[in-house]
Symmetry: D2
Subunit: 148 residues, 4 copies
């Protein structure tokens, strides 16, 4: 049975500022940079629930992205401050899905999703352990450290 | 009316070798690198039909990615030689959609799609001109220069 | 005559957290990522003195990097919080040189320098204007917004 | 005693084409991309002497970059075909230094150097083994596969 997710407690927002190296010759943020933004926001989402990389590494596990999608609505630009709203959208036995919205003020610049699988160091699929599921379904427990 | 696309003539294959900087600490190619591979393959797809960046720039146009999706099946690794099979999947009045398969030998490592919009330098949507449509529906006219 | 630079007021520190996509298969931060860290720190250095990209763009100017060097002392790792200490080391008529130290706590992980030239949009060398020189020689006037 | 290097046999050239994602909003190749070009050229240099990543990995070794420098002379642009001339400039007991020139036709766009240390998986410095030194001092033995 899939655990129930409360969208409010399952949402976190991560602020970041667009770097020069993330732009391209169109003068806008390169479309691949948004996957890096999603990733940074997802890592912050986990960290704010007390889950760091060391948590997974101690288990010998990784969370590779197995599906990703982005819809680009309006270009982000150099030095823009963006907020990446991240929500745990689905939690399955061996994978989880996050949904993202990249905001500049009230304007939504991009939306997307990623599905992550839980694998061991040999890339073999693993069941997400109960104690981690509890954490993933919890609200933020750590203060926000914007950008860092 | 949408132009008819012949899948055989609308397909090109681009070979590339995985760079060290495209890997991550999981020891595999980082998931965002595939968007760079799609892009390189798409640019090669256009170049093999005689369309270079200068072609668009002369018109003051760009082809930003407005949607992207990737499904990751198996990890690519450092020094792997990959073939990115690219096909023009749909051609609309103001946008086009490409589909990609990343192959290592016979094994499909990833699949994906991108939709590109035709815009002017102010990011205003433009109709793809007739002469370009003719080119996009044509088969390769230029020899392959793998990797370059 | 070169303006005199006070090393204390000419130094700023920029905090950032290592992103997953900045690592490589050695399990450490890829060496090219440090140039991105220097750049982010330099942009923050300017911003904290009231100089944003819009300031240069309004003049039609850019500050391309014309020389860069890095000495790597110890590896940075995923999720590390780093402080990039940035100092304006030299100010010439048409260029300027910044020096950087990347710190994790008290430990210096990397040091480096970049020289930036002042050019117009045709990449022609330009004299740095007097009013900008005054700003570059000043201390921070803006509060720090770590990471953003 | 340091082995003698014959500059002619110790030089290889690697062709690559500038990718869109390697440009920045100045409309030119981002300065950090040159470190990726150096790296791709160095990996090709080794491969053309029969040394692949598997060679080092079998020994449990890595070759991290411990120093890097670049002097930028003229901007490279999207779709440019570049040749990266790579020469083994110095071979010490525990490290080696490569020098690079990035050429577009006859024009030199950038020059640089990197020093690589030989380390084990715990990042402990290792003596470069005699059999590898012999290979490093040899001329190309493998055909060129440009770009791949």
């Amino acid at each position: 049975m899939q655990p129930k997710i409360d969208p409010t407690s399952a949402t976190s927002s991560h602020r970041l500022r667009v770097r020069f190296c993330e732009t391209d010759l169109m003068g806008i943020v390169h479309h691949a940079s948004y996957l890096a933004y999603f990733e940074a926001a997802r890592v912050a989402w986990l960290r704010r629930r007390g889950v760091t990389y060391a948590t997974w590494a101690a288990l010998g596990w990784h969370l590779p992205v197995v599906e990703a999608s982005v819809r680009y609505r309006a270009p982000a630009r150099f030095e823009d401050v963006l907020a990446v709203e991240t929500v745990l959208a689905e939690l399955r036995s061996h994978s989880m899905r996050y949904a993202y919205r990249v905001l500049r003020g009230q304007e939504c610049l991009a939306e997307g999703e990623t599905r992550l699988a839980c694998v061991d160091s040999a890339h073999k699929l693993q069941r997400i352990p109960k104690e981690v599921i509890g954490i993933l379904c919890s609200a933020e427990t750590q203060p926000d450290a914007d950008g860092v």
